[in-house]
């Protein structure tokens, strides 16, 4: 069964769920490995409870989504008995490690032979599961361990890091997360599907637009039926501008943090102040510095006026963008040419292209290691009308990840300017949430949005009666945390803060 999706600015795939015939477990495993060997890239792999053939046995429907090099998504499924499970694929394809760990943790699926079934969020087993897990350890008289967290020194989210060091050199970093686990996924199923936007906006509060766009696109695909009616170019353009503003703002926050971590305080305060301009621009457009309320299924909360007045005019928006372009050029030049910055960032936390590919990294962290996937390159809609040139850096170190941000900020500013060339006027429009919403029955929708950190993946499935059967959320951070752990190996422990900031991953997005 081919996908039903029409033109959309995000990578989207909608299928008749019952038409995806679940394979026998062994056939599914072989099928997925063959697809990945032939050049497809894993996008997500997750489980959901399935009706069991045998009383007392827990059955799990496992769905794997892969992306072909032209951007198309393909789905392959299997139903398995959780207790019997299957043989792990992580040993063959490292990038699958987080998915198989999650499958085990969330659904109790036996993943035999997995090298590393470490808790992701210590869900049902709670702290006991975390405490019982034999975390990686290095033995040796001279080896010492440094434990950090879950509460860190700064005003940031919690997570625990354990460094195994010989002298100042980190041999391995064990990251354990889960402290932020709020139970997002069960809540998404408990509420009316059309009213989820405020909750989705807080899955990772610094990526509200990326996650909410993925949610909105999926709900729109589920309400429009086979002939997907896109929300119209006006709303798509406003969404694109909000997404790029989020990217600019968070990249600036990252640069500010990196500058602070190398003691380059002029960079820290300058990038911080320019971030204020970026988020205040979002606030003028939608009322929130984080883009809350900007996106709603079938609607938009973004306002842009032709003339100056009570709202926010195109001239004011252009003025803010011009300020960013002008002042960024000055601070970027100062930052990139500062010897202290170069000395600290160059060569630190290096990940080769081969490593980034093997680990399945996504987003700017992957592109800084020479990979080139970016969902915006596949979009129809506004990203086809205004194409984004995918940029990548070859060196894979903290320097590359910093430069990546600077280049992407520039591209995003130019992209928004391109959209503004069409002299758009945006009016908030919302569909009432009071009217009963009918979702198309028996559909599986996968929507993928390239946020500032990488791809946010939302998978929604409806049952035969049109009720939401499953809602799977995936933040890009889930896939990138191991990248950080590998990147700090053989680096000095004092370089960990800059390695960490250069990845800038989400704790709550991982922990859900």
């Amino acid at each position: 069964m081919s996908a039903l999706a029409g033109a959309c600015s995000v990578t989207l795939d909608a299928r008749v769920a019952s038409a995806i015939v679940p394979l026998d477990v062994r056939a599914w495993r072989a099928d997925l490995l063959a697809r990945l060997a032939s050049g497809a890239r894993i996008v997500t792999l997750y489980g959901r409870p399935a009706p069991s053939a045998h009383a007392g046995a827990a059955a799990v429907m496992v769905t794997a989504v892969v992306q072909l090099t032209d951007g198309r998504l393909e789905v392959t499924r299997a139903v398995m008995d959780a207790a019997r499970g299957y043989h792990a694929m992580t040993a063959d394809v490292t990038a699958l490690h987080c998915f198989e760990r999650e499958l085990h943790e969330q659904h109790g699926v036996r993943v035999a032979g997995h090298p590393w079934l470490k808790p992701i969020r210590f869900e049902a087993g709670g702290r006991a599961a975390r405490d019982a897990y034999p975390f990686y350890a290095i033995e040796g008289k001279e080896v010492h361990e440094v434990a950090v967290g879950p509460i860190h020194a700064g005003v940031i989210e919690p997570g625990a890091f354990r460094f195994m060091c010989l002298g100042e050199i980190v041999h391995h970093l064990e990251i354990h997360l889960g402290y932020q686990h709020r139970g997002v996924e069960p809540l998404l199923l408990r509420r009316d599907a059309r009213k989820l936007a405020p909750l989705v906006e807080t899955i990772a509060g610094d990526s509200s637009i990326a996650h909410t766009w993925a949610y909105c696109a999926a709900i729109e695909a589920l309400t429009a039926g086979d002939e997907r009616a896109p929300v119209g170019p006006e709303i798509e353009a406003a969404r694109g501008v909000m997404l790029e503003l989020e990217r600019i703002a968070m990249h600036l926050a990252g640069l500010s943090g990196l500058a602070a971590d190398v003691g380059f305080l002029q960079g820290a305060s300058s990038y911080g102040r320019l971030r204020t301009t970026a988020i205040n621009t979002s606030m003028r457009l939608c009322g929130s510095r984080f883009g809350r309320g900007a996106l709603r299924p079938g609607g938009s909360g973004v306002r842009l006026d032709a003339e100056a007045g009570a709202g926010f005019s195109r001239a004011e928006l252009r003025q803010n963008l011009a300020l960013l372009v002008n002042d960024l050029a000055i601070i970027d030049d100062c930052f990139l040419s500062a010897r202290t910055v170069q000395h600290r960032l160059k060569g630190a936390g290096r990940l080769t292209t081969a490593q980034a590919t093997e680990l399945g990294l996504v987003g700017p962290a992957a592109r800084a290691s020479g990979l080139t996937h970016d969902q915006r390159a596949f979009g129809a809609g506004v990203y086809a009308e205004h194409p984004v040139t995918v940029v990548s850096e070859p060196s894979g170190d903290c320097w590359a990840r910093a430069r990546m941000r600077i280049v992407e900020i520039g591209r995003s500013l130019a992209w928004i300017a391109g959209v503004l060339d069409g002299d758009p006027v945006w009016t908030p429009r919302r569909a009432s949430t009071a009217a009963p919403l009918e979702l198309v029955a028996d559909r599986l929708v996968v929507s993928v949005v390239e946020g500032w950190r990488g791809e946010a993946v939302h998978c929604l499935e409806t049952d035969a009666a049109g009720a939401l059967l499953h809602y799977k959320v995936q933040d890009p951070s889930l896939r990138n945390w191991l990248g950080l752990a590998i990147a700090v190996r053989e680096n000095e422990i004092s370089d960990f803060p800059i390695c960490n900031k250069s990845f800038d991953l989400s704790y709550c997005g991982n922990d859900l």
Partner: protein
């Protein structure tokens, strides 16, 4: 050196001179509820609210639960709800966060605490702990010390160790997996000490109030001295709550 001077010239002076009077243009802040009568039996606002922040007869809104999504504005047939750009959304008590109908329906103003003023009026050190925060509150709390809001001008700063802290600023709905760490941080703080709850999640659980993965026991044991509402709170809301609490700036009017 020359490049550094160019940066200095381009950045200019960014700090907000009067934090008390500053209003963030376009910000969705304090909601107001008009006195227009509700249609018979209407509960559109209650149904639309994602956090059960609204009660009716008479209509009132709990800022401690509100996430400022403005769904109530869109669903109310009488247009009773409106959001203003006022970022002052704090109160000393949980009940003080209730917004009622009419122009005077805002939260209770924060009275300066004489004891806290004496202790911390010239220097306050805060330890922030996120316990399930989505990074919205964390970013805004960080921003309170940036070049725009510059809370450090009053001797108020974040510290890395709870040992050095006078106040514990909590964000997030308090996840079960962070319960132990929150108590350890509090136990490590020397007396005298107090708690500030920042954001709808910390105050009430917010959008996560119904989630099973929480353990809010700490906040039941140790009541916050001030509640800073918002999702997330604007830095001006947080900054002014502290300035008023400690009597650092004269209260408005």
């Amino acid at each position: 050196m020359f490049k550094s001077l160019r940066v200095r010239a381009s950045q200019g002076s960014q700090f907000i001179v009067d934090l008390r009077k500053a209003v963030p243009n376009g910000h969705r802040g304090l909601p107001t509820i008009s006195t227009a009568p509700c249609p018979e039996g209407c509960h559109a606002c209650v149904d639309a609210c994602p956090t059960e922040a609204i009660a009716i007869e008479p209509v009132r809104l709990d800022l401690g639960k509100c996430v400022f999504c403005s769904e109530c504005v869109h669903e109310c047939p009488e247009g009773k709800f409106a959001f203003t750009s006022n970022p002052h959304l704090s109160a000393r008590t949980r009940e003080g966060l209730i917004v009622t109908e009419g122009p005077e329906g805002g939260p209770d103003p924060i009275a300066t605490d004489a004891a806290l003023k004496k202790l911390y009026g010239r220097s306050l050190r805060m330890r922030q702990v996120s316990a399930g925060g989505c990074n919205g509150c964390e970013l805004e709390l960080n921003a309170a010390l940036n070049v725009n809001f510059d809370l450090a001008r009053y001797g108020i700063e974040w510290v890395a160790s709870p040992r050095h802290a006078d106040a514990l600023v909590l964000s997030g709905p308090l996840t079960r997996n962070m319960a132990e760490a929150v108590r350890l941080a509090w136990d490590a703080m020397p007396d005298p000490r107090f708690v500030i709850a920042a954001g709808a999640c910390a105050i009430s659980g917010g959008l996560y109030a119904q989630a099973e993965a929480l353990d809010r026991g700490f906040l039941r044991d140790v009541g916050p001295v001030v509640y800073v509402a918002g999702c997330p709170p604007h830095p001006l809301g947080f900054v002014n709550a502290i300035l008023q609490l400690l009597g650092i700036a004269p209260s408005a009017g």
